[in-house]
């Protein structure tokens, strides 16, 4: 019998074949070179459906090496279904070490949150993005939104903020608040809460965004200006919770609202690793931004 060594291992390292990974890395370089610009890419077939984190997975698998330590969170939690499945997948496809510890990880993939703990320059932060086009809500045609980006024609986006203010007395965008990157492109920061938006600005880490279903990659390089859209008299605000975390009594973290059996509600810290560290009394370095500093402990 002829032995075929080529197929003795069932998959390539990190699942995707090398030439496709190279293509994704090339597109990532372009994305980093033009902060906030959406770069089209191949979005290869994955063993999960598009829209379930494939974009983030493509980015992670294209950049991961054998030495990397991988962490993945879903809405702040290391333990939710999406995070667990993707962690197991990356682990079995790469053999890399995985962790819950934000400090230890070198690549962190996320669904809809940035960690409370500050990210360092040796770390790469990968977002799973469902809708990369910030202008989709005001313009449904792709060729027109591309033209609008190309000419920096963002009046429609601003009018939609104006309309929101006029009709509801405030800008009613909870997650995915549009930001202007490097003074040029308007970007959808994936649906992270407004709480996390200031942490994109002049960060030390590299932020990469992958939208698998929409086949787009984009990036915010370290130390890049990221400003949320605001009028001179209607300003961007982060979420207010009123109550502190029920477990730690902490106020300066994004909180989850929990309803108890008796109908009352309480809040707990959304970032599971951050809460664990708080409860253990460990020293945690948080992101510093002017919005957080205004919160009275």
């Amino acid at each position: 019998m002829i032995e075929n060594k080529k197929y003795s291992r069932r998959y390539n390292f990190a699942f995707i074949d090398e030439s496709t990974k190279k293509e994704i890395r090339r597109k990532l370089l372009k994305a980093v070179a033009i902060p906030g610009y959406q770069v089209p890419y191949s979005s290869p077939e994955m063993p999960i459906s598009r829209g379930w984190g494939t974009g983030g997975l493509h980015v992670t698998l294209a950049i991961i090496g054998r030495e990397d330590v991988f962490k993945i969170i879903d809405q702040g939690s290391d333990a939710s279904v999406n995070a667990c499945n993707l962690r197991e997948f990356v682990e079995s496809m790469t053999g890399c070490k995985t962790t819950y510890d934000t400090r230890e990880a070198t690549i962190i993939q996320t669904r809809h949150r940035i960690t409370e703990e500050v990210l360092e320059d040796h770390q790469i932060f990968v977002f799973q993005v469902p809708q990369p086009e910030p202008l989709r809500g005001v313009e449904r045609y792709e060729y027109k939104t591309r033209l609008m980006h190309g000419e920096a024609d963002y009046a429609k986006m601003w009018v939609s903020l104006y309309e929101s203010f006029v009709q509801h007395g405030d800008i009613m965008l909870g997650a995915g608040y549009p930001v202007k990157v490097n003074g040029r492109y308007i970007m959808a920061p994936s649906p992270i809460p407004r709480w996390d938006v200031p942490n994109l600005n002049h960060a030390r880490t590299l932020y990469l965004f992958g939208a698998g279903r929409e086949k787009r990659l984009y990036a915010v390089p370290p130390h890049t200006t990221v400003e949320p859209l605001e009028f001179e008299d209607v300003l961007f605000k982060i979420e207010k919770f009123g109550l502190p975390c029920a477990k730690t009594g902490y106020r300066k973290a994004f909180l989850d609202e929990l309803f108890l059996d008796d109908g009352s509600k309480e809040y707990v810290i959304n970032d599971s690793n951050f809460m664990d560290k708080m409860e253990l009394g460990m020293d945690v370095q948080q992101f510093v931004n002017p919005y957080l500093q205004k919160i009275v402990e």
């Binding site: 033209l147 601003w158 104006y162 006029v166 009709q167 009028f231």
Partner: protein, 277 residues
């Protein structure tokens, strides 16, 4: 006096023009479809000057190319041939039809206004009337909601739209009100040049009269130069100083409005004037 807008040889042809397309179309040929190549000549060799504060009328029947002329000048379409110079843009040294997309948007937002026949072309019906005016102001760099609303309510008041309807969608307005919101939007940034494309068509007579009154008042008050496109000679007579008569995509006659209406020279103009009710 120096010209505000200078237009030379403005031409728009749909399809592939042949060697003799321009000769074999036009009023003398009685068609604007080229018999050789079937290219459609929407307008050809349109040249005119417009002076600051002047109101120019373009009159002609359906399909004569009059709307095409203003749409080309407002960059809604790409011209085939021709040039146009606008005094406030680089002191008239650069052909505005050659400008980049970004420059064209600047010219549209700062130096021009357009009122379309159908308010759905000029207004975004998903935005409130105030939001529509805000769009124009935001494009010109206003970023203060309070000031934007102040200016919008001033403009709506000026165009006789009840200010309390500022935060309503234009789809809930009557046709005449929609048209007045469109006018408010068009003049939001005090442009030196305003295009009016069949603004009163489709409105009933009393509303027509009020819209025309408003346009005339604004013109006298703000001294905006206007190009008024209409097939309706009474609109032309009421608003304009000078008139171009177009047929099959060419200018067949031009001159002072009074003169053209009193003493039409071209056979087609005579027909137009004599068929005035």
């Amino acid at each position: 006096m120096s010209t505000l807008l200078e237009v030379r040889n403005l031409t728009k042809i749909y399809g592939e023009p042949g060697e003799h397309t321009l000769e074999r179309t036009g009023p003398r040929a009685g068609t604007n479809i080229c018999p050789d190549t079937e290219a459609i000549v929407a307008c050809a060799n349109v040249s005119f000057d417009l002076y600051p504060g002047e109101v120019l009328g373009i009159v002609g029947e359906s399909g004569s190319g009059k709307s095409t002329v203003v749409k080309l000048l407002y960059f809604d379409m790409e011209r085939t041939l021709g040039s146009a110079w606008l005094k406030p843009y680089l002191d008239g040294h650069s052909d505005i039809l050659d400008a980049s997309g970004q420059q064209k948007r600047y010219i549209r937002n700062y130096l021009m206004g357009m009122v379309y026949q159908n308010p759905r072309d000029g207004l975004n019906f998903r935005f409130t009337s105030g939001g529509n005016i805000a769009e124009k102001l935001i494009m010109a760099g206003h970023m203060h909601v309070g000031k934007i609303r102040e200016r919008a309510s001033f403009l709506l008041d000026r165009t006789e739209v009840p200010v309390r309807r500022m935060d309503d969608l234009p789809s809930s307005f009557s046709g005449g009100m929609q048209q007045r919101v469109q006018i408010a939007k068009a003049i939001a940034n005090n442009p030196p040049l305003l295009f009016l494309d069949e603004v009163t068509t489709g409105l009933d007579v009393s509303v027509q009269a009020r819209v025309l009154d408003l346009i005339r008042e604004l013109q006298q008050e703000l001294g905006i130069a206007m190009i008024v496109v209409s097939h309706d000679l009474s609109v032309i007579r009421m608003l304009t100083d000078r008139t171009l008569v177009m047929k099959h995509g060419r200018i067949v006659e031009s001159g002072l409005t009074d003169q053209i209406l009193q003493d039409p020279q071209h056979a087609y103009t005579q027909l137009l004037v004599s068929s005035l009710l």
